[in-house]
Symmetry: C2
Subunit: 338 residues, 2 copies
């Protein structure tokens, strides 16, 4: 990204400086395509997975006109849903006729995998938008027999910068653009390209692909399991959401009924740990996680949720210090309540 | 921006790292507000002026339901136009009833000012979207008696990074968002913030404001005039568009009928100069500039247009070397044609 700062040209300009900027964008496109397992022409750079989601939803007229999402989907897709899908309907066709639906490959709050780690595809009844934001860069991106119509992902979830994402268009048609003007991204998304951010997205995709291939996240899963076991050994009052289901290697969603998630975030912050209650982008809201409510947890359980995310740099010492700090604060909380 | 790369938090997170990211975004917001002369709450960060344009146009239902643009507007606004405004109608109300119209403060291809350098405001008949992308950072941003309803601008036109822009909302109502999800930008534009790019936008706005106040662009205008005089002294075959009208200090739009603008771009590139034919973002297109056609120039004149932009680092020597190279290539072109 620092090198890209010296590439001052506009990728749409035909002079030397413009061509250098164009090359930088196209190299990043190839790197993202490699990570996702798609053609370079299927990658449309956007400013976020959120923009990619809106762009996918804007294509619903081509897919039956109706858009639906599971209640556990991230708000960037869920907020567009016209019919809340029942999780039991995901495989079937409970809504009459063909429509566009959102099903994530891995949940953003719990890390639980949508379909055993395979990117959820389209079906005879559904064109699918699959949110691979959480999956990509942590597990191999593998497709079933049918690809989805669209996938969305974000750079900052794979180690890249915030403010860059992509729509992967698996359909034969170019999406109708939401942004008009200069005709960038092959007329699919106008606006001068975020060259520095895109360069970072590409570099992150290349690094993330190598890390996944090297099995580095398996070690992270071990650490996550140590974290959960250490906490479970100290108290039987916690639930680790999705513990017995296939889930991402780095996420632990912990419920401790009666102890507000937001309080835990602040207390752990004082201890030097950055965790989140619910998903970071909706943490300003005080409502209990709708994801957990949809999964059948009570209001009290859902509002106690914290999400602990481990990274490749997280050490066993970090994990044990976290568990110690959390147990200490939990013990104090119980004494206050008692 | 490099310092911002070390701010890893998500601005929506409440922990220490998140608050640091939030501070960075809010400092940039204050810097952009200072440059534009608006309240910080009126600044909505987007991924480009193009996205800001689309977001403004999406509000047209609140302004009479119809959107119009002058044929000289940048495509990010012009491509949404339902009724092409006649330049003569700009001050009046030739379209019945109230509607939303786009009028730029300075044209992106010619640098000609829309209303003597004042940001074009709303009228009893028009809610106005004023494109200040070219004006901001080169001239003071001054308002008439009435502000526009919206203004749009872009970081990379004031020395900041590509891929960041802003919608300035002067209306009393929050715009209906185009991007839904996490509720960032006070629920007006969802998507995790481009913290690095926004930091660059803010820093560029602060620097640009100082440069404008110091009159540094007056020196650039002198150099631009030297460029035009040197070329005019060598040939009477050129037209400098808007030479006798109020225009930006750094832009020269040169017509040399019979010599394709695209050819000039390539020839000047070989000589080490990056110029453009038309606007950079539409340079992939081979059509003659619709801006120039709308101004009454012929197809042959319009397709010969080049746009030469000077910067604060441009020297008199640069300008004279450019003029020499251009005159040499023009002379060779004439010999080939003759």
């Amino acid at each position: 990204m620092i090198a890209a700062m010296d590439v001052v040209g506009n990728p749409s300009s035909v002079h030397t400086e413009g061509r250098a900027a164009k090359m930088l964008v196209e190299r990043a496109r190839a790197q993202v395509a490699e990570l996702v397992g798609c053609k370079t022409t299927q990658v449309i750079f956007t400013s976020s997975a959120t923009e990619a989601a809106a762009l996918a939803v804007a294509q619903k007229a081509r897919h039956g006109g109706l858009f639906s999402a599971l209640p556990t989907e991230h708000d960037c897709l869920g907020d567009w849903s016209e019919v809340a899908l029942d999780p039991a309907q995901v495989g079937g066709g409970a809504i009459e006729g063909h429509h566009l639906r959102a099903v994530s490959a891995a949940n953003s709050e719990t890390g639980i995998l949508g379909a055993s780690g395979v990117v959820v595809g389209s079906t005879p009844h559904h064109s699918t938008v699959c949110d691979i934001t959480q999956l990509a860069g942590k597990m191999p991106v593998i497709y079933g027999e049918v690809t989805p119509s669209y996938a969305i992902l974000s750079a900052h979830k794979i180690g890249g910068p915030k403010g860059v994402g992509a729509l992967i268009n698996f359909t034969a048609d170019d999406p109708v653009p939401m942004l008009r003007g200069g005709g960038q991204e092959m007329n699919r998304r106008s606006g001068t390209e975020n060259t520095i951010g895109i360069a970072g997205f590409g570099a992150a995709a290349a690094a993330a692909g190598q890390d996944v291939a090297a099995g580095r996240w398996d070690e992270v899963a071990q650490l996550r399991n140590i974290l959960e076991k250490t906490i479970a050994a100290a108290t039987d009052q916690t639930i680790f959401v999705g513990k017995d289901r296939p889930r991402l290697p780095n996420t632990s969603c912990i419920l401790t009924s009666g102890w507000k998630g937001e309080t835990q975030v602040m207390q752990m912050d004082l201890a030097g740990f950055a965790i989140s209650a619910g998903s970071a982008c909706s943490s300003g809201k005080v409502k209990a996680s709708k994801v957990l409510i949809a999964m059948g947890y009570s209001e009290a359980q859902a509002s106690s949720a914290i999400r602990v995310s481990l990274g490749l740099e997280t050490t066993k010492d970090d994990v044990l210090r976290f568990a110690d700090a959390w147990i200490e604060k939990w013990t104090k909380h119980q004494m206050r309540v008692a």
